[in-house]
């Protein structure tokens, strides 16, 4: 399917140059990083930009480094780069484990973490890690903004970005305590597939738990009720059962071509239970190897 819309291709060398194009073309401009969503949308006619701004020529958007206790991941950092980073694997294992389940190698070589949150499809794997680590979205435009990722996702394919703005990267704070994590993804088969349900769990030393679901509501979100229930407690079979009962209050899955609402609800409970156990086991230095599926 060819791209039929006519557009101008820009490849700015600096952030300033990129922001000028975005300021001029506003909503008619589309930012291109990995292109693995944008090109599909342009082929389908979902997007018909008059200007495409390829930001891969902007050096600073490729940075991936830990600064002042947080990982700074530029807008051009691909999932492959995250997976090949020892710092990500060691310090932000939940992000690493999520990234590993995104599409396939050939897509991950191109697709970016920032592109993932800008596309904001409900099943994005990376959201549960970003929500659990309480990341901030770094935005440049008429004014510079840092938007907590909890306020970023407004709905399916809807984010807090405004016309003329560019997401330059993400700031992901490293946990200040020892932690254990687990990302559990349900697909139709193991391998390349979109999530039917995804849940990311971060268990922090001191019996604090952060839990975020994706693919079970228009936007990914933290499960505040479950977190409150677990807070301060060691996991027990009874506590996990109570947490599972709260799942239907936390998530709002729909029936679609990939799964029914009932199946998603049922599996979300099982995935929460197994994910919690795995995260706590990993916190204690054991548990399944990172990246090993628990379902």
């Amino acid at each position: 399917m060819p791209i039929t819309c006519e557009f101008e291709y820009h490849k700015p060398k600096s952030l300033l140059e990129a922001l000028e194009v975005l300021a001029r073309d506003g909503k008619n401009a589309s930012v291109l990083a990995g292109g693995t969503d944008l090109l599909v949308w342009m082929k389908e006619g979902v997007r018909a930009p008059s200007a495409v701004v390829d930001v891969k020529g902007i050096g600073e958007l490729h940075r991936l480094e830990i600064v002042d206790g947080a990982l700074l991941a530029g807008a051009c950092v691909t999932f492959t780069e995250l997976l090949e980073s020892a710092a990500v694997r060691d310090s932000l294992p939940l992000l690493w484990e999520c990234s590993r389940t995104v599409a396939s190698v050939g897509v991950r070589n191109r697709a970016t973490l920032v592109g993932n949150i800008c596309s904001a499809v409900p099943c994005l794997d990376s959201a549960s890690a970003l929500l659990a680590y309480e990341a901030s979205v770094l935005v440049e435009g008429p004014v510079s903004r840092q938007i907590p990722v909890t306020q970023w996702f407004l709905g399916a394919r809807e984010t807090a970005i405004r016309a003329g703005e560019l997401v330059t990267g993400l700031r992901i704070p490293l946990p200040d305590r020892k932690s254990g994590t687990c990302y559990v993804k349900l697909g139709r088969y193991r391998g390349e597939d979109l999530a039917q349900v995804g849940v990311g769990i971060l268990a922090l030393e001191g019996r604090e738990y952060r839990i975020a679901f994706c693919a079970v509501a228009p936007a990914p979100a933290r499960a505040a009720r479950i977190e409150r229930l677990l807070h301060g407690h060691d996991l027990s079979a009874e506590l996990i059962r109570q947490a599972q009962q709260l799942v239907s209050e936390e998530i709002h899955p729909i029936t679609d071509i990939r799964a029914s609402r009932e199946y998603r609800l049922h599996m979300a409970k099982i995935m929460l239970g197994r994910g919690l156990r795995a995260a706590v086991e990993r916190l204690a230095g054991g548990g399944p190897a990172l990246g090993e599926s628990v379902i």
């Binding site: 039929t4 006519e6 291709y9 693995t36 495409v52 492959t80 599409a103 190698v105 050939g106």
Partner: protein
């Protein structure tokens, strides 16, 4: 519409092409340059049939604009096929493919894995080729072929012509050069740049 002049290296040879902004890398390779190994399958990044190497990494050429290849190193199966090595030999020997439509993507994906990890596990092979849909084989013959190529099937190598010397290692520098890992001759972007 403004045409863009781009320059890149294709299978080791410098090329200059004029493209439309909306042309994909796949369209340029197939329709303009006669490179037919990447196929138009799903045309949305799911099936892997359009896979090529872009700066040493596999990408979905249906999801890359031709303009994005300016200054890059593009390697397709046509380039890889010139390299004598165990991968193509073992895939052929194991009857890994039937119709062959997925073969370019599978070969390049396997090559990318073996360049990074010469002795992968079966699971790692499965994960590496996961984005390549094959509707003929059920994948088993493909995985067996790749396993044999990386020396897991050493007995076969020893029995065959050339013996154990024909291992993956000897082909590695040639493959790396073809894939653009040889930094001595980096491709040059078109002097005018990919701007109108």
């Amino acid at each position: 519409m403004n045409r863009l002049a781009i320059g890149f290296r294709l299978n080791g040879v410098a090329r200059e092409v004029e493209v439309e902004p909306g042309d994909t890398l796949l369209e340029m390779l197939r329709d303009r340059l006669g490179i037919k190994s990447p196929k138009t399958g799903c045309d949305r990044g799911d099936c892997g049939a359009c896979t090529v190497f872009l700066d040493g990494r596999t990408v979905r050429s249906c999801l890359v604009l031709a303009a994005e290849a300016d200054g890059c190193d593009v390697v397709t199966l046509e380039g890889i096929a010139q390299i004598p090595g165990p991968l193509l030999r073992e895939l052929a020997g194991h009857n890994s493919f039937q119709c062959g439509f997925c073969a370019p993507g599978v070969v390049l994906s396997a090559l990318e894995l073996l360049l990074a990890k010469p002795h992968p596990t079966r699971l790692e092979i499965q994960e590496a080729i996961a984005g390549n849909l094959c509707r003929c084989t059920g994948y088993t013959s493909i995985i067996e072929g790749i396993k044999a190529a990386c020396g897991a099937d050493a007995a076969r190598d020893e029995a065959g012509p050339g013996g154990p010397a024909q291992t993956w290692g000897s082909a590695l520098p040639i493959i790396e050069a073809a894939c653009g890992a040889d930094a001595r001759t980096p491709p040059q972007p078109n002097s005018k740049g990919a701007r109108p």
